[in-house]
């Protein structure tokens, strides 16, 4: 996906297709994954609206008319590491990144925000959805 800039409109469209066609999301992503979440990249926020384990819509700059259960926040540099085909240690998966931020107080990693109960209720599907950002970014590359 070298022609399309990370987190551009075209990139998100490709990500949506990747998630909605992913066989693992259909098996273990659960047709019950309905919790909307946001991805915050630096100052930009994108709402990912989930419906039965599929992405309905991705909305930049969500506002009061939208709702979500949880989100992931981090600097653009951290996200750019996260989506590398072979990401560096501690920005290679969301729980890894969150642990280094929340427990070890390190900078430069992603952090979870929002309703922890809903995060853990949907952990695998949510985690897989985020991992598919890497696949989308690398045109089917390593997860």
């Amino acid at each position: 996906m070298t022609e399309t800039e990370f987190a551009s409109h075209g990139w998100w469209e490709h990500f949506k297709e990747t998630v909605n066609e992913d066989p693992e999301m259909q098996v273990r992503g659960h047709d019950k994954f309905d919790e909307n979440f946001y991805v915050e990249i630096g100052d930009e926020r994108f709402l990912v609206a989930m419906n039965g384990g599929r992405i309905d819509e991705i909305t930049p700059n969500p506002g009061l008319n939208h709702q979500w259960s949880f989100g992931v926040e981090g600097a653009r540099e951290a996200w750019e590491e996260f989506v590398q085909e072979t990401p560096p240690a501690f920005n290679h998966e969301i729980i890894a990144s969150h642990y280094r931020t929340a427990v070890r107080n390190e900078e430069g990693h992603l952090e979870l925000a929002g309703d922890n109960e809903k995060i853990f209720q949907n952990l695998r599907a949510f985690q897989r959805t985020l991992d598919l950002m890497r696949k989308a970014h690398n045109d089917g590359g390593n997860l």
Binding site: H92, I95, A96, Y99, V103, Q121, L123, Q127
Partner: protein
């Protein structure tokens, strides 16, 4: 075992041993492979898991030529069911360091192991410090994988909660503990093992791992000149990093050795068995003295004659 030998019977055997732990008899399952008079290599699994994690070490013909590899299921894990004389269902499972160390030594005693090498990972790596402190005369050497003097923050209520799918959450909260360079199917198998733990046992083990175990101010109590201590942590282990391993070795001093295992994470023996077994042979060579020189601070796939793609390809044929 190659693909064309799929109908053959593996030489790994599984048996039960009855172990007295604090006056209670436990029926403990263990698997072993290697010569009866080989150097015993006693393998402790990670929190909430079982001895299946060690199957690739048990199957390694080079290792089992010299070592009698023994991998057990700690009580309440795998096939080591809770003792029938106890009303264990009336209390939450939770384990302290004293209980953990006592159980390991009791299993070594019940198997009548003479000068075994202890090899444990994660919570089995952390307890290496208690074993080295409290039972140095019981072991020939102690090897802690993915070990830390202190590993807070993983005693998490959601790992045993009625409103979450604990089977899946216990496994996939660990997904990111593995390195992306590992083969897909061994990383997935590692999670599959994790999905088999009894309810509450993972969290109860993590009481030891993240709450009870704190050796930050006690490392100088360990005399590793009496029993050599090796610490090997994976590059991608976000809970106990290679730096944490080096801190242990520095705190313990003489007799303690720490190394970083690159391109591997918190479950080395199951997430990337081809690479880990190669690393382990270097460590075991240092334990026995067969390795002529000191271990390097950092082991890479190149150091052991492997490349990432080669590891993935070889693994896919197993």
């Amino acid at each position: 075992m190659s693909v064309d030998e799929l109908d053959s019977v593996e030489s790994i055997t599984g048996r039960y041993v009855h172990v007295d732990i604090g006056g209670v008899t436990h029926r403990v399952y263990f698997e072993e492979n290697g010569p009866e008079d080989g150097i015993p290599l006693l393998c402790q699994h990670t929190a909430g898991c079982n001895n299946q994690e060690w199957r690739h070490v048990l199957a390694d013909e080079e290792i089992t030529e010299e070592f009698r590899v023994i991998a057990y299921d700690l009580p309440y894990h795998g096939k080591s069911a809770p003792p029938p004389t106890q009303e264990w269902w009336l209390e939450d499972y939770s384990m302290t360091g004293e209980e953990f160390a006592e159980r390991i030594v009791a299993i070594a005693d019940a198997l009548e192991l003479e000068d075994p090498i202890y090899l444990g990972c994660s919570m089995g790596g952390n307890i290496a410090l208690e074993l080295a402190d409290w039972y140095p005369d019981r072991f020939r050497a102690i090897v802690g994988l993915e070990a830390g003097a202190y590993s807070p923050g993983f005693y998490i209520d959601w790992l045993d909660h009625p409103r979450v799918n604990t089977t899946e959450v216990n496994a996939y909260s660990c997904w990111g503990l593995m390195a992306p360079q590992g083969p897909d199917h061994t990383r997935r198998e590692t999670m599959y093992h994790y999905e088999q733990g009894a309810t509450g046992v993972f969290k109860g083990d993590l009481y030891f791992y993240s709450v009870d175990h704190d050796y930050r101010d006690k490392l100088d109590q360990i005399d590793a000149t009496e029993c050599p201590l090796f610490i090997a942590n994976g590059q991608y282990d976000y809970l106990t990093t290679p730096e944490d391993g080096f801190d242990i070795a520095e705190g313990v001093g003489e007799g303690a050795t720490a190394i970083e295992m690159t391109e591997i994470g918190h479950f080395p023996m199951s997430e990337n068995p081809t690479l880990f077994n190669a690393y382990l042979k270097e460590i075991l060579g240092a334990v026995t003295g067969d390795r002529g020189e000191d271990l390097p601070e950092r082991l890479t796939p190149e150091d052991v004659g492997l490349e990432t793609e080669q590891v993935k390809a070889e693994s896919a044929s197993k």
